[in-house]
């Protein structure tokens, strides 16, 4: 009897039992080890002693090693952490909001909106990028892409928020979101159809996703935005719990459902939009990690699930990044290929073996 009470306590109220403490401790240790491994492994073999030396005192006899560790590997590892947290939390929010296990950050068309912005810049190269007004702003190269991507994501987000404040039904909202994504993607396809092959190639490379394109300067901006997005998510975890019990119940608890919904959509858009802007559309993590978190922590309480998603998302992204580097070889695979290739079997295994996918 006591066990049942404890289980209920854990499942609904999010109390942290010894098993969960162990899982959290293990995940933190796992992340620390793999963060170091992500920095230590790569195409160029650098002795671990040197890595530690560069990491803590930033000194080494080999200048190329300093460059690789400081300018390439550390920014990439930090990006992996930010992406892992941001995408999984935004996926969790979408699954809860729409009470649909297949929802993810891309479901509202935010990712498609970001792609639209990028396509506008890349596929019209030579006309848009040489526009006098843009040149006068002194924005070019990577920042221009990031700005365009954020603007695209923001545009779609505003449309979604406007529609969602008029619509009361979440399922209709979900369908509208998917349709908007489709419209956006077909606009991009039209552009692609009429673009030169080298422009299409550049755009295609962007859609593969990449953690390696984020430099130190980008990282500062990305980190600030992700922290803001995560903060909003943590703050709204009570709202999410209430929404999970149904909108009528939430309303009866005195929750202004519409305001909660807009808050959740905003934080998702900030997280998914900024990550897509900096790294390209990275699939899978946003859909899969929330399921892993629910399964591992055996709870539907968002005060547990949100940090849980951050930990699992980070761990998974770090592993994927290490694999995509294919340590020892000179080539690197795009991250998008790896996330689905490694992640999907993991999700199938965890869900099937524990058979406790709950929360809907």
């Amino acid at each position: 009897m006591k066990d049942k009470i404890q289980l209920y306590d854990e499942y609904v109220n999010g109390a942290i039992g010894p098993v969960k403490k162990f899982i959290i401790g293990f995940l933190i240790l796992f992340i620390l080890v793999f963060f170091m491994l992500d920095i230590a492994l790569g195409s160029v073999a650098i002795p671990f002693k040197e890595i530690v030396k560069i990491f803590f005192s930033s000194g080494s006899d080999n200048e190329a090693w300093i460059y690789i560790v400081e300018k390439i590997r550390i920014p990439k590892a930090i990006t992996a952490v930010l992406v892992g947290c941001g995408l999984s939390v935004s996926g969790l929010q979408m699954q809860t909001l729409f009470r649909n296990p297949l929802a993810g950050p891309s479901v509202l068309g935010i990712t498609a909106g970001a792609s639209l912005g990028v396509a506008l810049i890349m596929l019209s190269a030579g006309s848009i990028t040489s526009l006098y007004t843009i040149q006068a702003l002194g924005i070019s190269g990577s920042w221009l892409i990031i700005l365009a991507s954020s603007a695209g994501a923001a545009l779609i987000m505003m449309i979604i928020v406007a529609i969602s404040s008029a619509l009361r039904d979440n399922i209709i909202m979900l369908i509208v979101g998917v349709m908007i994504a489709n419209i956006t993607l077909s606009i991009i396809s039209i552009w692609q159809y009429f673009s030169a092959p080298e422009q299409i190639k550049e755009y295609l490379l962007w859609t593969f996703g990449s953690l390696g394109g984020v430099t130190e300067h980008h990282l500062q901006v990305l980190a600030i935005v992700i922290v803001i997005g995560l903060f909003i998510s943590f703050a709204s975890s009570k709202l999410l719990d209430a929404l999970l019990l149904g909108e009528n119940y939430a309303r009866s608890m005195g929750l202004t459902v519409n305001r909660a919904r807009i808050l959740i959509i905003c934080s998702t858009s900030i997280l998914a939009g900024s990550i897509t802007a900096f790294c390209g559309p990275i699939g899978f993590i946003g859909i899969a990690v929330p399921h892993l978190a629910r399964s591992l922590f055996n709870t539907s309480n968002h005060r547990i699930l949100i940090p849980g998603c951050c930990l699992i998302g980070t761990a998974l992204m770090l592993v994927c990044d290490i694999v995509s580097q294919m340590p020892g070889s000179q080539t690197a695979l795009p991250i998008n290929i790896i996330t689905a290739l490694i992640g999907s079997p993991v999700v199938i295994w965890v869900i099937v073996s524990r058979n406790n996918l709950r929360g809907f």
Binding site: G42, S43, V44, E63, A64, Y67, I68, K71, I72, R73, K76, A125, G126, S140, G141, S142, W143, L144, Y193, F194, A196, P197, E198, E202, L205, W206, S210, L211, G212, G213, T215, E216, H217, G280, Q325, Q330, T331, A332, P334
Partner: protein, 405 residues
């Protein structure tokens, strides 16, 4: 069976039925007699005509290119487009017959091209360069895009409305192509790729020839594809003569470059988001570097053109490289810094030794490097030698390359 022979057969049958209806008794024996002896007569006539035209062309031989071969059999030529994969060599065969001749027997699976080609649709700027080289720019009657043209003669024809735009590969306007009804379409492509996207056009009786000059492992082999154009135009003598000049000049320069004492370290291309596509050791670009007396770090890697490398595997070389070439669409140092500020740490960036092939971009934004650069390997090599060993060519001025500042 080609259009021509089918027509002559039909004419015979018509004549046959006509005779039958008028001379009933004699008809059968006589008409069979005439029907059967008309064929060799016509053929004899054609052979004579072909013999006279066969005298006009010199037989060319392929020395450097590995992607195609030309065989001369009697009055026709056989062009083989070769696809060398790891284990086997696939061959696509084209039979080039003199205009008006019947197709030789035994080539049912091959496409037949009537030469000299008078109307050609080119799907890349390379065909313009090849036609220009063979001094027949007027054969270009269709192009994938009218924007990417440098040849003055072709641009004049475009202005006069003699050249049609047929659209990029994948979105080609089949109706325009069929209305132009060219003798041949030449497109860039991998010989191993399926021809399906041109199936409708082939069904309309228009032969499609896929050129894979970019797979050649030597610059001279790449340029030698003009000999294919020569065979199509019966201009072997002219093209052979011009190619021999280029060959001699290239080999003279290559000897000069290879003898150079110091070998500066060179990197090539522009990375994007952590991956960097570089030409492998078997590519013609690696050969350019070798002949220009440069040190290229991936010269020993065998492959089929280019390979994607991770940023960090190139970084150690880029940091200490002497020269950085082919930055593609990036034309200023500011743009390089804007693309990724990490590139500003590279030695060529600090020493101002970045060169791009953007000197000959015309008012339309078309780059002649992709056009005439292919058939002028000696000029590209001269540019590389001038960049990396200026003392070897003191009075030479860069043709295709320009320093990026």
């Amino acid at each position: 069976m080609t259009e021509k022979s089918r027509n002559s057969n039909q004419a015979c049958r018509k004549w046959f039925s006509h005779a039958c209806s008028h001379i009933v008794i004699l008809g059968i024996i006589l008409s069979i007699g005439i029907y059967s002896c008309q064929q060799p007569k016509t053929q004899q006539h054609f052979t004579e005509k072909a013999k006279s035209s066969a005298r006009h062309f010199v037989k060319t031989t392929i020395k450097y290119a590995k992607g195609f071969d030309i065989k001369y059999v009697g009055d026709y030529k056989i062009v083989q487009i070769l696809n060398h994969s790891a284990q086997k060599t696939d061959t696509t065969q084209f039979v080039l017959i003199q205009r008006g001749n019947p197709a030789p027997a035994g080539f049912k699976k091959s496409q037949i091209i009537e030469i000299p080609v008078k109307k050609l649709i080119g799907m890349s700027s390379l065909q313009i360069a090849m036609a220009d080289f063979a001094e027949s720019p007027d054969i270009i009657t269709g192009l994938n895009s009218l924007m990417y043209v440098n040849s003055p003669a072709v641009r004049k024809n475009i202005k006069a409305g003699k050249v049609k735009e047929v659209g990029e590969e994948g979105s080609i306007n089949t109706e325009v192509i069929i209305s132009v009804h060219p003798d041949l379409i030449m497109a860039m492509g991998n010989p191993s790729a399926s021809l399906s996207r041109y199936q409708t056009i082939e069904n309309a009786g228009i032969p499609v020839l896929l050129i894979s000059e970019w797979l050649e492992s030597t610059p001279l082999g790449r340029a030698e594809w003009v000999k294919l154009m020569a065979a199509l135009l019966n201009k072997e003598e002219l093209v052979d003569r011009k190619f021999a000049v280029i060959e001699k000049e290239y080999n003279r320069l290559a000897e000069l470059g290879r003898k150079a004492g110091d070998k500066p370290l060179v990197i090539i291309g522009m990375p994007y988001k952590g991956s960097w596509f570089v030409p492998d050791g078997t590519s013609f670009m690696a050969r350019f570097f070798k002949d220009a007396g440069a040190d290229y770090s991936w010269a020993d890697i065998k492959g089929t053109g280019s390979m994607p490398l991770s940023f960090e595997s190139i970084a150690p070389i880029a940091l200490k490289a002497d020269y950085w070439v082919n930055t593609g669409t990036v034309n200023t140092k500011a743009e390089i810094a804007a693309a990724d500020e990490r590139y500003t740490y590279f030695k060529p960036f600090k020493n101002n030794t970045i060169y791009n092939f953007n000197k000959r971009i015309n008012d339309l934004g078309s780059n002649d490097y992709w056009e005439s650069g292919v058939v002028n390997p000696h000029l590209v090599l001269s540019d590389f030698i001038k960049i990396m060993h200026p003392e070897l060519l003191p009075s030479y001025e860069l043709v295709y390359y320009k320093k990026i500042l």
